[in-house]
């Protein structure tokens, strides 16, 4: 197992290198002269040249990449064009907000999705199953921002139960977390249901019943652990969707996280900040998938065979 983790860890290195290369190229891939864009369209040539010099755009590409990588390794993501502060300082106060939002939403998705999925599978073709699956269909058909706006209108304005915006108190957290977590919960619920239905028909479930185990033990101990195997993969993919979802949700609920910073930076053509955020999102994604692989392996002992 340890050997597997180490090997899997080493395998992420090329992925991370590829990500840095892509992020680095971002600035060169956008059409037009990046320096001109960042300086503003009406800026005089001298200002643009100064910008170019400041960003090091006059050097050959490989030199630029080398410089980018070496500062990256020292934890330096460059300087914001807009505020002239290091990108790291821009991101730091906000990163935990976004990670918290994402993790809480993920937890909500997993708990809601698993419970709904298992209940649906156990009561298959019943009324409860139909209701839950209809709700799930609704859940992942709804765009985040629309759900967010509806929740603000209903809960915050009409019922005046929870604050419509901001981040800090637990009351402020509830609506964004529900908004962000619903889609994932719906997908996990459907995945769990079909995986569970598959598992309940397996021979080893019959063996467990023949042993005289309680139905609850049969379902949760013998069934769920097997049913989780494909669900874990979905959770990994979900995390990516959640991260990108934060951009919209943070905007709708005026949460001062990375997502909002990204929108602001894009609007202000603050490329170093955009690069920094993309890089951090990508690293989180790679990390989450590493975790998913490890837990997949933990759940599914059989893949050791291959």
């Amino acid at each position: 197992m340890l050997q597997f983790i180490v090997r899997r860890f080493i395998q992420t290195i090329p992925v991370i290198l590829g990500v840095t290369l892509l992020v680095f190229s971002l600035i060169h891939l956008i059409p037009g002269d990046p320096a001109q864009i960042m300086a503003g369209e009406a800026a005089p040539e001298a200002t643009v040249e100064a910008m170019r010099e400041r960003l090091g755009l006059n050097d050959p590409l490989h030199v630029q990449y080398g410089r980018y990588m070496s500062s990256l390794l020292q934890g330096d993501l460059g300087q914001s064009v807009r505020t002239s502060r290091p990108v790291m300082d821009e991101i730091q106060p906000r990163i935990m907000i976004t990670i918290r939002l994402a993790i809480y939403s993920m937890i909500l998705s997993i708990i809601l999705g698993l419970v709904a999925g298992v209940v649906s599978a156990v009561r298959r073709y019943g009324l409860l199953d139909a209701t839950l699956m209809l709700a799930a269909l609704f859940g992942f058909s709804m765009p985040n921002f629309w759900l967010g706006l509806m929740l603000i209108k209903l809960v915050s304005i009409d019922l005046a139960l929870l604050p419509p915006s901001g981040w800090g108190t637990w009351q402020q957290g509830i609506l964004p977390i529900i908004t962000l977590g619903t889609g994932g919960a719906a997908i996990i619920a459907r995945m769990t249901r079909s995986s569970m239905l598959d598992v309940i028909n397996q021979d080893y479930i019959r063996t467990a019943r023949a042993k005289g185990l309680k139905e609850r033990v049969v379902i949760y101990k013998h069934g769920l652990k097997n049913a989780l195997i494909p669900v874990v993969t979905v959770v990994g993919i979900e995390m990516g969707m959640l991260l990108s979802g934060t951009v919209l949700v943070e905007t709708v609920f005026a949460v001062n996280g990375m997502g909002r910073l990204a929108i602001d930076a894009i609007r202000a053509r603050d490329f170093p900040v955009v690069q920094g955020i993309v890089l951090i999102f990508a690293l989180i994604f790679v990390g989450v998938n590493l975790l998913v692989d490890i837990s997949y392996r933990y759940l599914n002992k059989r893949i050791e065979l291959n």
Partner: protein, 336 residues
Amino acid sequence: MSSVEPILQIKDLRTSFFIDRGEVKAVDGVTLDVPKGKTLGVVGESGCGKSVMALSILQLLEEPGKIVGGEILFNNVNLLQKSEKEMRDIRGNNISMIFQEPMTSLNPVYTIGEQISESYRVHQNMGKKDAYQKSLEMLRLVGIPSPEKRLHQYPYELSGGMRQRVMIAMALACRPDLLVADEPTTALDVTIQAQILELIKDLQTKLHMSVIIITHDLGIVAETCDRVAVMYCGNIVEQADAEELFERPRHPYTAGLFNSLPRHDQEKEELEAILGYVPSPIEMPQGCRFSPRCSYAEEICRQQNPDLKTLDNTRAVRCWIYSDGWKGSKEVAYHG
């Protein structure tokens, strides 16, 4: 019927599957006894209802299967009147079951030890450590080499034969009085099959159990069973002591089965196949279910299903040939 007191008596058991197209009577009035300490073989071809009958004993049927009538007396107590909780206490404790597919009958995500010790923990309230200790003893009993190592392995690390041994260890953990083995060796190679059959016989003597072996293989029945029930289309068509049955089958279906086997002791150019096919369960023929394929069938056979009739003390046959009104020959051809 048998001289030994029965441990299990099934009386007029009816199990049906309710599907969109109607009711499929998988088991349709099965009556049989399992003598204490002996082995009963239930033979029949696929779709005859033998596995459904086996699952009915422990009430392990899945939707849309349902027991619709009859009695299952275990030590003279009707299991069909037990609550689900009472049944749970019996499953794996007093009556155990092993299945055809050792490859898929063990849970892939738990170790062998975990799966065997579960029986002790649920039925004997044993602690984890004691249960593992007992599991280890069971692995030793069923002849698994280096049991200490196997205890901590997962099913995929074991061969089919080893997995079936684990299944047996699991089933016998709580020393049940009755073991129901549903095609226990069908998925295994002949040399491994021989090992598993020897093991079941050996443990039966050691642990004083009664055994029901459900199989399609007449050879297995001949080698391991004391008594035999032959099933066809949800009915028992013949029941007898194994020796008598193989000596002289009385029902035309039983005789037909024996005659259609390639034999070791005789050279035959052509096998005596039974004509036609097993009827579909939703279109059961009128009268005796075997009548469309039976070369002895008369008018009455096509009109009315005969009862299971006791011929002498130890044998029962469901066939019009043995009724008083039968005009034709009473000899059923058997080339044994």
